[in-house]
Symmetry: C2
Subunit: 211 residues, 2 copies
DNA sequence: TAGATTGTTAATCGATTAACAATC
DNA sequence: TAGATTGTTAATCGATTAACAATC
């Protein structure tokens, strides 16, 4: 098992491997070589072997990789062999979309509570939790260990929610508000959906400029 | 104006610059140097100047960059000085979240129609359009030029919707279904929300492994 | 054993960073 | 003019790719 530095680029590829391996397993494919995988994923076979060897030798010379065990290994590296307690702050459309997507719960992310300030939403039963007022977050966090907080609020309040969650002991924040949030001692993923739309728009214009 | 090759890394940074400049403008800041920008964004000043010079010299020696004109330039590079006709396929929570987010319309992305197969949604008035049956997509596309199609359907049908949109002459597809879609002659952005959650989970476990 | 494919080292390529002349 | 900061070339660094011995 190696422990060399794992670059950002490698980390961002891990979920892609994970998804591809899930797909292979679903198709009943039991083994795969780095060469075959490279064709399916549009990567270089050397890169794939290098990536896997950041974490240890998962393959077998002359044979390749066993799909099910590689899937398990990468799942474990990503922490997907564990369960996480998640709370949602902001129960609008995005928030509801995330909580109602059963894939996340299946993968180990359990929404244990949802919060919003909108009177029309408070008390409403989402698929997984009843919506409570935002004012109850702090108290909830003193009584429940929570791993991940999802911020799906308007951007104006995102940063104060981030502070609130951090103070309450949440370890990580998945932020969908269109603003960067940050805080000491907490891991943050700022999603910024618009960024990918802008890239799409950029490519569209490049293409049109060619003609 | 240069025309050197623009790398993927540069393209992905453009929206970040755009957002930062919008913020600066909102704050009433009229000029900024690459050095100041580098501090605010956590990038290297040389990198920022290199990035901008992929597209032309937008600065003034001894002065820096004028925020408003740089914002306009980058907006133009991203194609955000134009308007796009967008249709939504899949009017569930994610779809509704995207269409009701007014930021996109303000930025030039106009939802002109929405489609779904769910009887309970068909005929419903979203913020921007009435939900129509999926069967009407092909006809709609023969009568309306559409630039971008958003796929926010279950993964099972995502690829056939992608085909349908491409055949109908849509130029680009913004896909939120948790599966890669692709087609000839169309630009695709596959969003994969779960990937960022998995990265979050990875980091969380790295952190916990340190303790 | 022979063939296949890994794990790993070495080579290449490209992206980031540093340096500095140009110039506002 | 002197000071500041760009645009751009050169140096460095890191990531990707190639090559191949190890070995299943």
């Amino acid at each position: 098992m190696k422990d060399r530095h794992v670059s950002e680029a490698v980390i961002r590829r891990l979920p892609k491997y994970y998804r591809q391996l899930q797909e292979l397993k679903k198709q009943g494919i039991e083994r795969i070589s780095s060469g075959e995988l490279s064709v399916k994923m549009g990567l270089n076979a050397s890169q794939i072997r290098q990536d896997f060897n950041c974490f240890g030798g998962f393959g077998q010379q002359g044979y390749g990789y066993q799909v099910s065990s590689l899937l398990k290994e990468i799942g474990s590296i990503l922490g997907l062999d564990q369960r996480y307690k998640v709370i949602l702050v902001g129960a609008g459309h995005i928030g509801q979309a995330l909580t109602s997507y059963s894939g996340f719960a299946r993968q180990g992310f359990d929404i244990v509570a949802a919060f919003d300030n909108d009177e029309r939403l408070i008390g409403r039963q989402l698929d997984v939790a009843t919506v409570r007022p935002i004012g109850e977050i702090a108290e909830f966090l003193t009584q429940n260990r929570v791993d991940i907080g999802i911020i799906a609020t308007p951007k104006e309040v995102a940063n104060e929610i981030c502070e609130l969650l951090t103070k309450g002991g949440v370890s990580a924040i998945w932020n969908f508000a269109p603003v960067d949030v940050s805080s000491e001692n907490v891991i943050v993923e700022n999603v910024h959906l618009s960024d990918s739309l802008y890239v799409l728009s950029f490519r569209l214009n490049q293409l049109r400029a060619e003609d």
